[in-house]
């Protein structure tokens, strides 16, 4: 019986992008259902009652939630192709550590760069550049964080490439000047079809984030 894979998806979500990349890396067919987070589908509410968020991967009607957990699930079920985690336990722990670091830092810090102004934005910009420089050190001379092929950390981080234009424009800085290695790494990832097919256009994302920024700033005003 062929596996039935449904992804409750959102074109602009970096977390959903991760799952799209992983499924494509493994050569898996899946159905993508675009969610409207302002009007969540009964299926989403049924499959992720705890967080009510995307992405959700539904495999033969059983849901898996939280993108990093979904990536590990995909890697464990479809073990024989394009492994995302190495086999050595210490290297696996390192990969999980950096995937967790990306989860904790990049979304929230990056968001402050494109959504705020003034001192908060300036502090976030410095913080984000420091994060990216740290990740550059972790990458070292390897083509990918995963070594010769895409790994958990690559898949976790590359969706944020779709934010690069928005970050540079709002933050008024150049990523290629601050973090040239990271930009080379990103371009290398984009040469892979699994990645280029899964990431939206940076300008489309910029427009979308600017809409969110308006909403965010409206909420902050008293």
């Amino acid at each position: 019986m062929a596996d039935e894979l449904i992804l409750l998806d959102l074109w602009s979500s970096p977390f959903a992008m991760r799952v799209r990349i992983a499924l494509r890396e493994k050569g898996l067919d899946f159905e993508s259902i675009e969610e409207d987070l302002s009007n969540k589908s009964p299926l989403l509410l049924k499959m992720n009652p705890v967080h009510k968020q995307v992405p959700v991967l539904i495999h033969d009607e059983k849901p898996v939630c939280e993108s990093t957990i979904i990536l590990q699930y995909i890697d464990e079920v479809w073990r024989d192709k394009a492994p995302l985690l190495p086999s050595d336990p210490y290297e696996r722990a390192r990969a999980r550590f950096w995937a967790d670091y990306i989860d904790k830092k990049i979304y929230s810090t990056g968001r402050l760069v494109w959504a705020t102004t003034g001192e908060i934005q300036a502090a976030a910009k410095k913080d984000l550049i420091d994060c990216f420089k740290l990740l550059e050190m972790v990458l070292g001379d390897k083509p990918y964080f995963g070594g010769k092929t895409l790994g958990l950390v690559d898949v976790g981080l590359i969706p944020f490439y779709s934010w690069f234009y928005a970050l540079e424009t709002c933050g008024e800085f150049s990523l290629i000047d601050e973090c040239p290695k990271l930009v080379s790494w990103a371009k290398r990832c984009l040469q892979k079809e699994s990645v280029s097919k899964s990431l939206p256009d940076q300008y489309k994302i910029y427009d979308h984030l600017m809409d969110l920024k308006k909403k965010f700033q409206a909420q902050q005003k008293f």
């Binding site: 898996v64 939280e66 979904i70 699930y73 336990p89 696996r92 722990a93 550590f97 740290l134």
Partner: protein
């Protein structure tokens, strides 16, 4: 060559306790080092420069950080004894999901209970009770979250039991009243030596929190 294991920890930390339980479950000998978070050791700053937090497990000189990552590492290296994660990928994903839920919801709400007053405190109490009720639902009628045997999610959550007295006292409520099944489960886990020897005494935890409240004026 015998394995050299050092655990940088803080006695009352529910995250550190997880690693202690995992090491005990596997029957692994290690050197325990108590950290003073107001005066972090050079070793801690060197082995966890990114977060500067405990626990850190140092295995033959190589550090592993973040409690759930450490537990999975221990489970993978010492795989022949007392497996903690289930072998089925779907059940593993479920265990990881709920452990992540504990980290996000139980920890945050619990922390707000001893750090806030008034409306904020009441909101935090509701948050915590909601989270605990969801976990109780997930437990269902099983003896352990893992099923018939103690496993990863039991280990990840039981350490918070040592903090229940603190939450209840600071928040003036009874967790047992809202989640009696959880308390039964906790007492069942406490019958395991690996758990009872690894958890801090609830009174010790409360006294530690009182000290912090005084120090930081909460």
């Amino acid at each position: 060559m015998a394995d050299e294991l050092v655990l940088l920890d803080v006695h009352v930390s529910m995250f550190g306790m997880r690693v202690r339980i995992a090491l005990a479950e596997k029957g692994i000998k290690y050197e325990y080092r108590e950290e003073n978070l107001a005066n972090k050791s050079t070793l801690l700053l060197e082995t966890n420069p990114v977060h500067k937090k405990i626990p850190v497990l140092i295995h033959n000189g190589k550090p592993i950080c973040e409690s759930l990552i450490i537990v999975q590492y221990i489970d993978e290296v010492w795989k022949d004894k007392s497996p903690l994660l289930p072998s089925d990928p779907y059940q593993r994903a479920q265990a990881r999901f709920w452990a992540d839920f504990v980290d996000k919801k139980v920890f945050d709400a619990g922390r707000k209970i001893w750090r806030t007053k008034g409306e904020e405190l009441e909101a935090a109490k509701k948050e915590l009770i909601d989270a605990l009720e969801l976990l109780e639902g997930e437990l269902g009628d099983k003896p352990y979250f893992n099923g018939d045997t103690f496993g990863f999610l039991d280990l990840a959550f039981i350490t918070f039991y040592s903090w229940f007295h603190t939450y209840e006292t600071c928040g003036n409520f009874s967790i047992e009243k809202h989640c009696p099944k959880l308390i039964k489960w906790a007492k069942r886990c406490m019958e395991r030596e690996s758990v009872s020897k690894s958890l801090a005494d609830p009174i010790t935890v409360y006294e530690f929190v009182l000290m912090l409240k005084k120090k930081y004026g909460h």
